[in-house]
Symmetry: C2
Subunit: 156 residues, 2 copies
DNA sequence: GCAGCGTAGTTTCCTTGGAAACCCGATGTC
DNA sequence: GACATCGGGTTTCCAAGGAAACTACGCTGC
């Protein structure tokens, strides 16, 4: 599987930890996505809803940070949510320029239900592990984030 | 951060293992992608090249499996590679119908160089861990794959 | 022999997201 | 007071990938 026809060693894809991380992560996300789309919601929309729910009156820039997407893409997510009647661009009364975003009643009602879907998905994939194992994976990931000072960035 | 204004508990995004997996994995892939695009190659193109390198004369269906994309998308990847002069659709002489895909000389020359980029990227993110730690993460991921019988699926 | 099928690939259409241009109101600066 | 500038947001354009329609062929059943 390594060197072939040339003398140069070429490690297989599966030799990389990154490969496996991506592999598992893609599955977890893909399943979550399939569940969400039964309610006609995408993952970014879910993250946006969840953010607005925790912190009402978030402004656009805040959402950009939470979503880890460009402001253009974020703007489109908000438009979609508005279209679905889940959130609103509330041109802030206070006149400081920035626009505030808020959930509608429907949006607020939806979040806890989606949260249960998210919980269930995580449980599906990791529920069979012991609490200790889960925690150790969590720690490993968070350590990587810390070590590399990873910030939320555009998600591809 | 949990229940707010309603009585329903809503766990934070960061409570999910899936969240952290995705977070780290996205960063790893994103960095790799940035490195590759300096050579005008995308991640799927890299995987395709790597596959054809290891197994010359792969046919389209095989590539579909390796890439974990739909056949339509795979077809476009091949077209791109052909356009860049890295691979070719070789209408197989044996007449069994299926078309064989092969790397050009340029393609064959490129793979080992890209492989070094891939290695470097993995080392960048995980090189500071001990061999034991790396292995244990790798094992954890592979155990998940096995437990859930995960197959390669469309990659987002 | 040929009608109907199934398999392998390609093409078309649509959605999502990044990049960059653009828009607009608030804030200096002279 | 007129104008350059800047920050926050939106719009436009493009690339990539999924879904499904379509194409080309070889094979089976009659």
């Amino acid at each position: 599987m390594a060197a072939r026809s040339s003398g140069t060693p070429v490690s297989p894809l599966e030799a990389h930890l990154g490969f496996w991380l991506r592999f598992v992560s893609n599955h977890v996300s893909a399943r979550f996505q399939r569940q969400l789309e039964q309610r006609d919601i995408s993952i970014s929309e879910w993250v946006a809803l969840r953010t607005l729910w925790a912190q009402p009156e978030t402004r656009h820039a805040g959402l950009v940070r939470a979503l880890g997407m460009t402001k253009g893409a974020t703007s489109k997510v908000v438009s979609r949510l508005e279209h679905k009647g889940l959130a609103q661009r509330a041109s802030t009364g206070n006149g400081t320029g920035g626009q505030a975003l808020v959930l509608t009643a429907a949006g607020r009602a939806l979040v806890p239900r989606l949260a249960r879907v998210a919980d269930a998905n995580d449980a599906h994939f990791f529920g069979h592990l012991s609490a200790k194992q889960r925690q150790s994976l969590m720690d490993a990931m968070q350590a990587l984030v810390k070590h590399h000072r990873l910030q939320q960035v555009p998600t591809t």
